[in-house]
Every structure is written in C-alpha cells, then in structure tokens.
C-alpha cells in the first residue's frame, strides 16, 4: 500500500474547494431522509427502529471519531460478520447486516 496520507495530488484546500458542496448536499440528504421517516404517513413507529436505519445511525459515529479508513470501517460495520455459507432461506440483502435476534420491525 502507498502512503495514503500523500497519495492524492490535490492540496487540502483544493480538495475542500472541489468536493465540499457535493458532500454538504449529501449530508443534508441524509438529514432530510431521517426527517422524512418522522413524517411517514402511517404515523406508527415500530418499537425498535428498522435495522437499516439503526445501522446508518451507528455508522455515523465512525465519521466523527477522527480515525482513518472511514469508508472501509463503515462498510465493515454494515457487513455480515459470519463466515459459513448459508442455506437457501436467507433473506435478500438489504444493505445492512441484520442480526435476527434484534429484529422487531414488521
């Protein structure tokens, strides 16, 4: 692996100038998504949050911990940690690992 601290030819300032507005927009999209869930038409929130939304909230802490490899660690946190092949009754992939013991949503 090359030294990731110096492998982008852009300066810090150039990278901020180039990408800030794009990622400001993505952050607001996430906030608006969570607001949308609050306004859902059924007005019936499950006893526990949907596992995908819970996984998204949990992953946000990685963005704030100041440590490197954030994208890798977010992907790992969303991943199925098991090691053995499954049988055919496995549910379809949802984007976030679902520990069935925590499942309470309909």
């Amino acid at each position: 692996m090359t030294n990731p601290r110096s492998s982008c030819p852009m300066t810090y300032r150039q990278a901020v100038d180039t990408y800030f507005l794009e990622h400001r927009s993505k952050l607001i999209d996430v906030a608006a998504f969570l607001d949308r869930l609050d306004r859902a038409s059924d007005q019936q929130k499950p006893a526990q949050e949907d596992h995908r939304v819970a996984a998204l909230r949990n992953a946000m802490s990685i963005l704030l911990d100041g440590q490197p490899d954030r994208a890798k660690r977010v992907l790992e946190q969303l991943s199925d940690p098991s090691r053995s092949p499954t049988d055919t009754t496995s549910p379809p992939a949802s984007g976030a690992h679902h520990d069935t013991q925590d499942q309470t949503t309909p």
């Binding site: 990731p4 991943s79 092949p85 049988d87 055919t88």
Partner: protein, 271 residues
C-alpha cells in the same frame, strides 16, 4: 485517450451506447455471462446466450471500432439450481475455443449459499482443467465481505490456480486489500447507487496504488452508466494525476490482465 471497459453487459445496452463509448475512447470491452434479470427455464437458453456473446455481439461492437471479448459460465444466481448449473457447465467447453472467449466468468457468489459455493468450486476446477482466466463476481451489499472471503478460500482450496490469472470484481474499500494480498487482480465497478463511485475508485487507487487494479462500468439492464470509466479518468485528471497513471489504470492494467490469454489482441497503442 483510449480505454478498455473490462466488464460490461452489452447485450443489455443499445447501439447508441456503443457509439457513445467509441466516441469516448473505448477500444475494447469484455462481457461476462450474467443473470439477465430473469431465470432461464432450460440449458437451451444458455446455448442461445453463449452464441449471442460469441457470434452476434462481436459484430455489433466491431461496427463501432470496438473489440468485443467475453467470458462464459453459469452465473451465481442461477447456480442455486444444481441440476441446471451442471448441465450448463457441461456445455461450456464446446465454446472455449471461440476466438473472443477469454475465460470463465463471472462466476462467484450471490447470496453466499452452499449450492452457489459448490458450483463456484466446480467452475474454478473447469477453468483449471482448460487453463482459462477467471473473472469473479462478489455479492453486492452487506454480504460482500463474507462472500469475498468465501471466494478467496475456494480459489485457495483448488490449489492449482495462479492467483494472477484471476480478477475479483466489484471490490470496495473493505475487500480490495484482501484480494490484492492474495495475489489477484481487483476490479472496481462504478455504479450510481451501489459498489463504487468514480471518486471512491480513485480514492482506492490512491490508497493501494494502481497496480493490479482495474475499473469497469458493469453496465447492464439496471442502474448503470456505460461511460463511467471515462468519468473516472476525468476524476483522476481533475485531481492532478498524470496521463501515464490514468492510462495505466484504464488501459494498460486491463490489457495486462486480459493479455494473459493469447486471444486478447488489442488493435491500438498502449500509450
């Protein structure tokens, strides 16, 4: 600037896409056999598909100055049916001598099931018996990490596969390191909603260097963009990467991997 898209499903794309890709500098595509959005009901469906990949699609590409190569297999999703999968595997050797067939692919795992793993191992053995390159599909979402580990173990268990003759595709930040550490090539698929964006793919190149890394559009019938490789080239240029590095990542690297099959003959300069 010329480029290769080493993974795109042109049977699902229009002739206008070929035209736009040619205008953007695409000189060659390789097309793995895949799940077409619905399950085929018989092995005869695969016979027709393999003939489309080896007879019709190369002529459609050639009309736009693009070389067309392909990979043959039973895809992991339809591999869940062991009887069907083994009938299709039995048909593949008859196609392997065709001039645009580079190897076996895209084999791999879809839901990481036991049946998928059995057929993956049988197709790895098929590639080994016929001395074929291998192109591997990894699962899409939270199952990718586990699936990639299972695939790497399956290749290792075979014991006779040169890792440098295997490209493991749809790699992301959490799987690319283990793929490269095992000696394989890693492919990054540039998708709008899942897998990698062009920006993240370039981040990975900056983190791991551009050796044994390739980028592809995996353009198909779903949300995808056949021009995503040139978008990644533009992203590299925007960041200040030099022309040589960009050409390595999008032309010389795929040419080096694919060129391990003698049938792959690029009709253009690598500069």
């Amino acid at each position: 600037m010329n480029y290769i898209d080493p993974h795109i499903h042109m049977v699902s794309r229009t002739t206008d896409d070929y035209q736009r890709m040619a205008m953007a500098g695409c000189v060659a595509v390789t097309e793995p056999a895949f799940w077409a959005g619905f399950d085929r009901v018989s092995p005869q469906g695969f016979d027709g598909y393999f003939r489309q990949l080896t007879e019709f699609e190369p002529s459609r590409a050639a009309a736009h100055g693009i070389d067309h190569y392909c990979w043959l297999c039973i895809n992991p999703k339809e591999a869940q049916d062991l009887t069907l999968a083994r009938e299709v595997i039995g048909m593949i050797p008859a196609f392997l001598d065709r001039p645009n067939v580079l190897g076996i692919g895209e084999i791999g795992l879809n839901k990481n099931t036991k049946n998928e793993l059995i057929i993956l191992e049988e197709q790895i053995a098929l590639a080994q018996r016929h001395d074929q390159l291998i192109l591997v599909h990894t699962p899409h979402l939270e199952d990718k990490l586990k699936g990639t580990r299972l695939i790497l173990d399956a290749i290792r268990r075979n014991g006779s596969i040169d890792p440098a003759r295997v490209l493991i595709d749809h790699a992301e930040e959490h799987t690319v390191g283990m793929i490269l550490d095992a000696g394989h090539w890693a492919g990054m698929t540039l998708y709008p909603d899942s897998k990698c964006t062009p920006q993240r793919a370039v981040d990975i190149i900056e983190t791991y260097s551009h050796h044994r890394l390739v980028m592809n559009s995996a353009g198909d019938w779903g949300h995808s963009d056949p021009l995503s490789v040139p978008q990644a080239r533009m992203e590299m240029a925007r960041r200040g990467h030099n022309r040589d590095t960009i050409t390595d990542a999008t032309l010389r690297n795929p040419a080096a991997f694919l060129g391990q099959c003698d049938k792959f003959q690029l009709q253009t300069s690598l500069d």
